[in-house]
Each structure stands twice: as structure tokens, then as C-alpha cells.
Symmetry: C2
Subunit: 360 residues, 2 copies
Amino acid sequence: MKTLTVDLGDRSYPIFIGQGLIDQPELIQPYVTGTQVLIVSNTTVAPLYLERVKQTFSDYDVQTVVLPDGEQYKNLEILNRIFDVAIEHHFDRKCTFVALGGGVIGDMTGFAAAAYQRGVNFIQMPTTLLSQVDSSVGGKTGVNHPQGKNMIGAFHQPECVVIDTDTLNTLEDRELSAGLAEVIKYGLIVDYPFFEWLEQNLPGLLDRKADVLAEAIERSCQNKADIVAKDEKEAGLRALFNLGHTFGHAIEAGMGYGVWLHGEGVSAGMMQAIYLSKLMGDLTQADQDRAAAILSAARLPVLPPSTDDMPNERFLALMAGDKKVQAGKIRLVLLKAIGQAYVTGDYSPALLERTLTEYR
Amino acid sequence: MKTLTVDLGDRSYPIFIGQGLIDQPELIQPYVTGTQVLIVSNTTVAPLYLERVKQTFSDYDVQTVVLPDGEQYKNLEILNRIFDVAIEHHFDRKCTFVALGGGVIGDMTGFAAAAYQRGVNFIQMPTTLLSQVDSSVGGKTGVNHPQGKNMIGAFHQPECVVIDTDTLNTLEDRELSAGLAEVIKYGLIVDYPFFEWLEQNLPGLLDRKADVLAEAIERSCQNKADIVAKDEKEAGLRALFNLGHTFGHAIEAGMGYGVWLHGEGVSAGMMQAIYLSKLMGDLTQADQDRAAAILSAARLPVLPPSTDDMPNERFLALMAGDKKVQAGKIRLVLLKAIGQAYVTGDYSPALLERTLTEYR
């Protein structure tokens, strides 16, 4: 087992990475407060792991909520089901919520924990690659609004993150690839050696070799933890994580949530950011080709939807609706080089327009 | 104008108290961040003050939301209307929400600000005595769940609190009295000289004399600010604010929300706590009579509903709220003397039972 720490002063917490961790009460129970545990999962993950996780918490008064699976259910109405169960069973302020599932479950459970009685503790047990390397670390929680992703939420750090790499064995190929988009992202934004390692080790990742997956997860989480420790509330540096996300969120919203997976939108979106960076003279055609090659090898889309599906105007409007807009200017994460991202609102709108037109 | 400060380190903020403050842009605008202002009000307050407050923020991109008036609308569904407007108008992370109304508007606007894009700034402009002396100070925000008051929320401090005492001129007599219950509470829990001052000045308060109201508000807010500064997240001391509230919430819930106003329930509830304190040998009959006299003079109920309306068993169950019905375990705020409250779970259940039976 590997242990990383997210260093946030008195809100610091460990990330445990290894095989078979969800069955280890002695590892997890020290992070439980109170006597009541509410496990939140979804209809896909619950049949696979819920009974085992209930066993892990068998020393506590355990309740469970199983939510429908999918980004389209990440809203205030479904969130309320978590509150319903907690209140029905008289959960007090010292209780612990446990998120067992992917990013949607983690985000919703975290926000429910942030808001229930104005804040209770929670534990992340992410079961998808995407959530293991991204959303379960960093304390961003929330739900979607019909007009925008993650518009309603809180910064609320977990007590610990338990990444059981065995859970990836039951993950669909498409979901594994979606997670790889975020893994590759860390290489692109801040870690060129990791990008090279990924180019070498992509076959092992696709074959789900446990040691290769564990190393990719560890290096991803380490990159994420380092940046979160420096910028918990996204005042600056943390925005780098959004490489491809402003484009990607527009794709997800424009095509209807759930049609493109988040990681798929991010993959095409990162390529759009890279294309724009090339137009700005920072990246070469060779850089673009390398990025496209590794994302394609990871079985990810590199091109956004066609202009028929998403005309430029609609694309821009959806990008502008994204929360990273400050005073009307769409701020984007772009690359100076592979492994060197920066945030800017200072680019030519004409080049963005060209990107939307040409890179399809 | 008087200015108090709630001392919370880098989240400290001022409370301004005086006449005509809502018309003073030079006072308020320094606390606005960003260029977008969303004023949230209700159908009772908006016709009286919304246009004036819009003028105060006329240097900004101002949007408004007018919610239905009443505790029964303090829920996630109505909260969503605030998000709808903010998102529709592309409000960014630097925007400012303004709560213009009573406690319900303040709690909802504050929680919306806590959750919108994971947290934006907000300003409290409370227009009822109750919210001016209680809910607008301290950062507790939230909405109700059908099974429990304020079960969903956040600690989120405002940038400033603007208390315009002129707004009390339009307040109904019954609402003014409800606010006085919380004013008198501060005297009872921690401030005997204030209690004596209130005994002297109650006629002036009921006549709505501006200088008397301003002093009562100032001394109430000062007491609240002092305690909040020592215990922001209700680990201990802050629980003193709950004098009469466990009884009072039971009355509110038992009689149906909206039948008894919050301040009315608190008034009768404080008398029940005082009666129990007398049975425990800490207060005298004279203390009880003084408390009853000032609350009655403030046109507040001193007796809880009859045993016909709320039998002891039902009363206890509602007081126990989220806990099992074990009378001895319900923590209560009681008095050692007028001006000296404490929190305890260590009292005889028989004396609580006697209080419920005898003090009706």
C-alpha cells in the first residue's frame, strides 16, 4: 500500500492506494467520527461492493443510500435523498458519510456532508479511475444546475481517501479510458517525465496491470495533492487542473449530459486547448501529434463534436457559461510546452474562433 | 451610526447600525466584490425597500429575486430560484449576494452564497428586529428539511451587516415583539445590566423610539458578536444562544410552523427553562416573576400551549428531536441567575417532567 498526504494544515488527510483496501476496517475506522455511518453509492457500484463496505463499518450504526447512476442525476433533487436518509435515521453532527462510487457519488456525498447540519465528516472510496485520480482528492464537492456543471457546491475536505485498485477490475473499458484522460492531463500540465512514462506504459494501463495502475494513480494524486496544498480554494494555480475542461464542459452540456463522458469531453477539450496553443506559437505540430497519439491510444476522442452538432456560436455560449468566466472573459488553460500549463484570458478571440472552426 | 465588529480573524466583518443606512452607497459599496450584485428579497419587503436598495447598488450590474414570504418556503426548491437567476445572468465567482429581508431571507441568501460556485460573498441587510439581533450575525445559514429545521446549510460569514433601524417602522407589532424575545434573551443569558436596562426601556422599544431601538440592537449584537468570536462553529459557548429554543422549537413544530412565531416559541420556552431552573434551586420565584413581567410587557406569550394541544409525551418527543426520547439526555440551556446561563444534560428528568406538567 502507498500513502500520500494532502497537506492542508489541520485539514490534512491521507490518500491510501493499494489492492483490497475496502476490506480493511483497521485502516479505515480511525477516520470515522461518531457512531453513525451513511454509505452513499449508486445502482452500478452497490451490487459489486456495498455489502463488503458495510462489513468494513460493521462496528457502527450503518445506513445506506443507493442513487441512480449517471451525471444526469447529480442535482439538488437527488441530493435530497441523502438528507432524507440521514434525517430519517436521526444522524447527528458527529456522523460520517462514505462515498462509494465514481466522481458523481463523491461530489454529491461530499456536498451532502458539507451541508448536513452545516457540516459533517466524510470518507472518499472512489471506484473509478477518474475519481481516484481527480475528484476524490482536493475537496471540491457539488451538484449541477440545469444551466451549468458543479455550479452549486462547497469546498469540503474528506477525512481520508481510500483507493482500492481492485475496484478497477470491474470498470468498463470506456470508463477506464475516461479516467486516463485525467491521468494524461497531469503529464500535460505540470509533469513532463510522467507524460513520457505514460507514453511508455499505456499498454500496461489498458491491460489493467495492478502495479502500473497503482503507479499512475500515485503519480496523478501526488501532482494533484501538491497543487491543492498550495491553492486549496482555486485562487490561482489550481486552475491548471482545468486544462481542456472549459471546452470539455461545453461539449458535455451541448451534447446532453451523459452522452459524452466527462473524460471524453476533457480529452477532446485538451486537444482544442493544444491546437489553440499551437496557433499562438507555443506548441509545435509535433507536440499536437504526440498528445493526439497518446489520447487516441487510450481510446479517447481527440476531435470535438461536428459543427452540425455544435455550431461555434453555441460552443462559445456554453464555454462562457462555465464558472471560470471572470467579468465576461473566458479564461483558458493553455500550454507553453508539454508539462507546462498556464491560465490566461489574454489571447486573441480570433484564434479561439479559428480553433473552433478548424479543429473539428 | 454605530459600528461593531465581529472578530473572526481574516473573516472579521462590521455591523453598521443606524437610520437610513440602506440608502448609503458610500457606506456599503466598499464591501461589494466583483461587478455583479444579486439582491434577494421577499414579497413583503420588496415592495417597501427593493427599489431603494437597487439604487444603492446602481454602480453595479444588479439583478433581483423576490421569494415568497414565510418559513414554509425556506427549502431547497425555493433556494434553487436564487441559483436560477445567478446562473441565467452569468454571475461569476466574484459576485455579491445581498439579503434584504428577515431571518428566512438572510439564511437562504447566505446559504445560496455559500454554495454558489462553492462560495461567493454576501451582505446582510436585515429588516426585522429578530434578524437584526440574531440571525444576520454569526454566519449560520441554511434551509429546512421537511423533517427538521435548518438541517441543510453552511457556516458562511457576510462581508458586512447593514442594520437600518428605519426599516422597523414598517414591521408589524407582532413581529416586533417576536424580535424582542431574542433581545431579552441576551439579558437573560449573559448580560444582567442589559436586562435591567430593558426593564427600564421597554416602553421606548414598543414605541419604536429610534435611539432606544438602536441601543437595544447594538447591545444585542455586541453580545452575539462576542460569543460568536469565541465559538464560530458552535463547539460550546454558542449553545447559550439556544436558551428557550429546545422548548420553543418543540412548540413551533407541535403547533404547526407559522402558528407560533419563532420569537413567541422562544419566549414561552425561556420561561419553561426558567421554571426548571427554579425547581433546581438556582432561580427564585422573584426571578421568574421578573422574566415573566418583561416578556409579558413585550406582548409575548409566557405560557406554552396547553396539555390538550401538546401533551407532555409529545412535547418531550419534539424536544428530543433527532435523539431518542430520554428526557435526562436532552441538553438544555438553563440559568444559574439572570444573566448567567449554562448548558447541561445533567438535570433530573423528573424536574423536566414537572416543568412540563406544572408550568402551563
